[in-house]
């Protein structure tokens, strides 16, 4: 077995070798600029990009490749969607609705708009990390121009009721943007069936290359307009200037095509591996809590809190496996995960959380190795934990006056 084992597939994924092979000619022989209209190099690149656009449109259930705007990644797509809609529709209304568990690319774009005089409603989530569609409905005003809700959360994997939210926004004539980065290809996502008007996707979470993403912008019923945020040569129908990343786009489409063919089977395999990991750990360790929704959750996601063990300390102990933690010690701010806190988790449990992100290249042997490693190391760290000893002695930790530092 090759160590360390990569089990952090929400952060990024390794490229599928088939994707790399598809990209290769576009670096070497077919390297043309897709905007070059005067020679064969440009025409070939353009034709390949247009094919890729159609593939990606099919991948998300869009009607046409014309609705795909390529970007440098999902952060740019989120920025373009939110700021682009706000700028274009600002004369119609200046209110946006989103949720507290969105990615920072969405939250910080909204914060920027607040500084520019827009108002933003941040909806809370329940204990499993789900947004209530009825709360979305109640938050809408005659000033609301946009609702932005993620398809699946990057930390706890909770899948949002996008179709229900889409039915509401569609009925009210408000645009719906979905950050679909974590969910697309792993859980059903269809912009037509779900009434989604804008959607951000990225290649590197689906075994494609880094540095390429896209924003879906609906062209019919309704025709959605955005104000470009990048000025220049007028690429992407004026929506996003900048020479297209042709090899990246080809790789993105190949990664999508693989998921269209194999995604359902892969999701089932990952669900089984994930459940195996969970069951093995829970069978041997007490006081392990699942964070996120038990059913409405990404198949490869397992976010667990190990009471009385600090997440970063645990990650150091299981350094043969690459995972991540909601512990404050992993962030520069020394604040534990805002997602876990928004779900009502105690700070203690947020500090004790580990996110396992299983992916295409994980095997049953990986899962068994990781389960044994985690069981051994959690037990060792609990033996070193004053909190676990106090818990065993029947002391209620909440009754103690802790000196915050």
């Amino acid at each position: 077995m090759n160590l360390p084992i990569y089990m952090d597939n929400h952060a990024t994924t390794p490229m599928d070798p088939r994707v790399l092979r598809a990209m290769e000619p576009y670096f070497l022989s077919q390297f043309g600029n897709a905007a070059s209209r005067t020679h064969r190099f440009g025409w070939e690149a353009e034709a390949a990009v247009e094919d890729a656009r159609e593939t990606l449109a099919r991948f998300i259930g869009a009607e046409s490749g014309k609705e795909i705007v390529f970007t440098s990644g999902a952060t740019e797509a989120d920025n373009l969607a939110i700021k682009g809609v706000a700028e274009y529709y600002g004369s119609k209304g200046r209110h946006i609705v989103t949720t507290v568990i969105e990615h920072k690319a969405v939250l910080d774009s909204c914060k920027r708009l607040e500084k520019d005089g827009y108002s933003v409603t941040y909806l809370g989530v329940d204990h499993s990390g789900r947004v209530d569609p009825e709360e979305v409905r109640r938050a809408l005003t005659d000033q609301t121009i946009l609702v932005s809700v993620m398809l699946a959360n990057n930390e706890v994997g909770t899948i949002q009721p996008i179709a229900e939210i889409g039915a509401i926004t569609h009925e009210k004539g408000v645009l719906l943007h979905v950050d679909a980065v974590q969910g697309v290809g792993k859980t059903p996502f269809d912009v037509e069936a779900m009434n989604v008007d804008l959607a951000s996707i990225t290649a590197h979470k689906i075994y494609g290359p880094k540095g390429i993403g896209a924003l879906y912008v609906r062209r019919k019923k309704p025709r959605v307009r955005i104000a470009p945020q990048m000025d220049g040569g007028g690429h992407e129908r004026g929506n996003r200037s900048g020479t297209l990343n042709v090899p990246g786009i080809i790789g993105f489409a190949k990664a999508a095509e693989i998921l269209m063919n194999e995604g359902a089977a892969e999701a089932e395999r990952l669900r089984q591996l994930r459940d195996r990991l969970h069951q093995k750990i829970s069978a041997k360790l007490e006081l392990v809590t699942l964070n996120g929704h038990p059913e409405h959750r990404l198949p490869g996601n397992l976010n667990l809190s190990f009471s009385f063990v600090e997440g970063e300390g645990l990650m150091m102990a299981i350094k043969d496996v690459a995972v991540s933690s909601g512990s404050a010690c992993t962030s520069a701010s020394l604040e534990p995960s805002y997602v876990l806190k928004s779900m009502g988790l105690d700070d203690e449990l947020a500090h004790s959380s580990i996110r396992f992100g299983l992916g295409r290249f994980n095997t049953e042997a990986d899962v068994d190795f990781v389960a044994d490693l985690v069981i051994g190391k959690v037990s060792r760290l609990r033996d070193m934990s004053p909190l676990y000893e106090m818990h065993k002695d029947g002391i209620d930790l909440k009754s103690i006056q802790w000196a915050a530092h």
Binding site: E389, W402, A403, H405
Partner: protein, 135 residues
């Protein structure tokens, strides 16, 4: 973040993990930090009649640097008098372990734990003296 070799060494082979009888007269216990902050250290000392720390034990809930800081603290204070141990400051721990700026608070916590254990021991002694003085 990459850990220093010394942090890893202490983390993997922690010295003096364990528990002393907190009710014993010659034992002082310091419990510092807070679960909500992600760090709790319990450091205990066993003190001889001559005022020398004969034994020290710790248990820590926290990151690798917090565990290494408490392990090092117990190692250093063993064999020292209370007055000597009291003079130990966090910067010595941070320097020995090459702690990065975001982990300095771990060494602060270890210093607090030592001081808190000494204070607890002295309080116990004072209480005992007051009792025996009255008889």
């Amino acid at each position: 973040m990459a850990y220093s070799e010394k942090v890893i060494e202490h983390y993997e082979n922690p010295r003096n993990v364990g528990t002393l009888d907190k009710d014993a007269d010659d034992v002082g216990t310091g419990l510092v930090g807070a679960p909500a902050c992600g760090d709790v250290m319990r450091l205990q000392i066993k003190v001889s009649a001559a005022g020398v720390i004969e034994d020290a034990r710790f248990k820590t809930f926290g990151c690798g640097s917090a565990i290494a800081s408490s392990s090092l603290a117990t190692e250093w204070i063993k064999g020292k008098t209370l007055d000597e141990a009291e003079k130990l400051v966090n910067s010595q721990i941070a320097e020995e372990l090459n702690l990065p700026p975001v982990k300095i608070h771990c060494s602060v916590l270890a210093e607090d734990a030592i001081k808190s254990a000494i204070e607890d021991f002295r309080k116990k002694q004072a209480a005992r003296k007051a009792l025996s003085g009255g008889s």
